[in-house]
Symmetry: none
Subunit: 226 residues, 4 copies
DNA sequence: GATGAATGAGGGTTCATTCAT
DNA sequence: AATGAATGAACCCTCATTCAT
């Protein structure tokens, strides 16, 4: 990357983007919005250009063709979503070191609390739309495979591994292979959450989310309680 | 693709035209094939008509418009898939009264065996494509909601409920609420199967499928072993 | 309806029309309605067939093609309109030998009264639609020329010729060539009526109609008063 | 039809493309030609594009859709026709300050002369086609109402008002309300001209035109001669 | 590097018309 | 004589992409 031909007023030099990084960003954001809203095929480059307040050819100058623009948009949004996970799952809670309850005395309560956080990020509107988009197109765009595999962001699992390890160390649970168990727990929550919310297409009522979390926590505590 | 080799509705061979309700079936089958292959937007009515060896207007005479054709195709394929579940999960095994192992002495073995059957039907190529299609379009076609909700066909869960009830009656397990537990077990399998196969986009190696099933069985046996 | 296929009780044998005269009539009426409503090109044979509650092919059996159906429809409606003129200009007044006022002492009053009747039939909704239709298509269907030439139905002119002759005989007016003068009078009314009603597309307020008639009568009385 | 022989916008010859606002004009001219020839529904955007030697999408880029193109074409042609009236009724006569006879001593001769000019512009081929087109579509495109109301261009009436006022001032006629009388005179000519020429569909023989004018002049002179 | 104009291909839909029953 | 199913040609419109400025 980094083609900067001529002098270019130093300052924003390290940036790896192509020409006019601000426009590139505007295009990317518009592309994300439109692709999430319309899907790959329905999304039109015209609309993206309009929404980015940029000429259509500028889009082509920056991204070459629709497919590459699409992949860039997915990648960008995926990073954005992952960042949300890392930084605390939801923007508002980003600063809190731990959500209430997760450090609670009771392992079951901690799992329930973790479950709620999983569902929260999982069913976020943009994250859901991204997931549907990736599932729609993964068969046709092999480059989406990483994005598809990352459906359950690694951060979530890591976080849960820590939790399980911790509780096992405390003698509260006895989980031998926390990685596997963590993946199972997350998988269970994800599937039930997606299924009941129609893949993020309908809001999940609070009591349904609670039931999913509580039952999952109950299952795992039954299985791994010392 | 497809010049004129294979299936041809069946029945009257000599006269190629006439008021054949078989054409409706041919159109529907072509529609299923094309929609599964291309997705809703990419799929073109022209191609469907060609593939059904029928004029485009005939498609419109039968189904009114693309959306209705689409919904009919989804519904048809959904029934076909459901029928496969009911009649024994896969055509080849349709006659076997029970798969090997499921009636086995060991509850864990039985769960593993059941799990394999679930993954088998789940990852069937057409079923996967249908699932991706439904997920892709459910946000735009509300009529797809039932098809989306039926992601884990009821038959599977019912079957497992029976299994759990049976084992509980035998004193091997102690499951109070078999419906809930069955849904959890299936959900776990489904999510891990879909995730690792990229929603049916890549074949799931046998050992991965086995691991998923064994770990799930282990989890549930741990939790509900008497 | 009369569907009884076979022997057909003779009696209606001489009729030159096609099969099933009742259906023919239904088709014709539907055709008139649709052509007047939609124009020639927009009108679809499907819609006409539906509206006549008849199969599309039946339409073709009776009329051959769309163009012939169109011409038949125009001819039929034209006769209907002409009949309305003859029988008293409007259905309700059909029986009255003369409209009130036309036999009045004053020639001017008689002309005004006649003018109102002209405008009444002229601006009738169906007559207007027919006129627009004929004007639309006369350039493309030479067979419409008679229908176009008959824009000011002969009956109206004849009626006025009588009136003028009568008044001249009475010594009230002195019209040498009543045919010419009658055509002028009608032409003036027609043009102003059509123009102000946008060719029957907007209802003509009573006072506008009155003004047209009064001014026309004034003009002709000024010119031909003895 | 039409391989590539004739007009080609004009101007730059070497480079065939580029941001030429001349294309808009070419499209408009082709649209006028095709709509006048075929009517709204029959006219196809493809044909217009071909005739303008322009891609179909270019038409859409410039005019949005068929209806707007249609309205623009009608409006353009209407202005063209009106310009013809103003600048001397027909291009060839544009320079003559006054047509022969109109300033003649005799009011009747002046009216006859004026009548000829009216018929000349009225029965111009393009003006007639425009009139038929407007009448055809005014019921379906309300934006055509102004064009319909302007069937007798204001310029004609104004001109005649002047004439009548002048003759009245000279004491030759005594017209109290010249505006009304002028409208009547024009209406009479228009209706008889349109009627006898089948709305411009058949050429009006000279003697018929003359008869119309002479009779109309006779009528009005009879009525308003001092 | 950015733009507006232009393009050719193709999409869904509808039409007038004709078979086969 | 009447039907329902079928057809092929068009039509309006939109798309991804590329020139010329």
């Amino acid at each position: 990357m980094r083609t900067d031909s001529a002098p270019r007023p130093r300052g924003a030099v390290g940036r790896p983007a192509g020409p006019q990084p601000a426009k590139r960003q505007a295009i990317l954001e518009a592309a994300v919005a439109v692709f999430l809203r319309e899907g790959y095929t329905r999304a039109s480059v015209d609309v993206i250009a309009d929404e980015a307040q940029v000429s259509k050819q500028t889009v082509y100058n920056h991204f070459g063709d629709k497919q590459r623009l699409f992949l860039a948009a997915v990648e960008g949004e995926r990073e954005r979503v992952a960042a949300r996970f890392t930084s605390g799952l939801t923007p508002e809670l980003a600063d809190e070191p731990k959500n209430e309850g997760e450090g609670a005395a009771d392992a079951e309560t901690a799992l329930v609390s973790f479950g709620h956080r999983v569902l929260q990020v999982l069913l976020d509107e943009r994250a859901s739309a991204l997931r549907r988009l990736v599932i729609s197109e993964v068969a046709r765009h092999p480059s989406l495979r990483p994005a598809c595999a990352d459906g359950e962001p690694q951060q979530l699992v890591t976080h849960l591994v820590d939790l399980l390890t911790d509780r096992t160390a405390r003698g509260e649970l006895s989980v031998d292979d926390p990685a596997t168990v963590a993946r199972q727990f997350v998988a269970l929550l994800v599937q039930q959450g997606l299924h009941q919310s129609m893949y993020g297409t309908r809001p999940l009522p609070g009591h349904e989310a609670a039931a999913i979390c509580e039952r999952a926590a109950d299952l795992f505590v039954r299985a791994y309680r010392r």
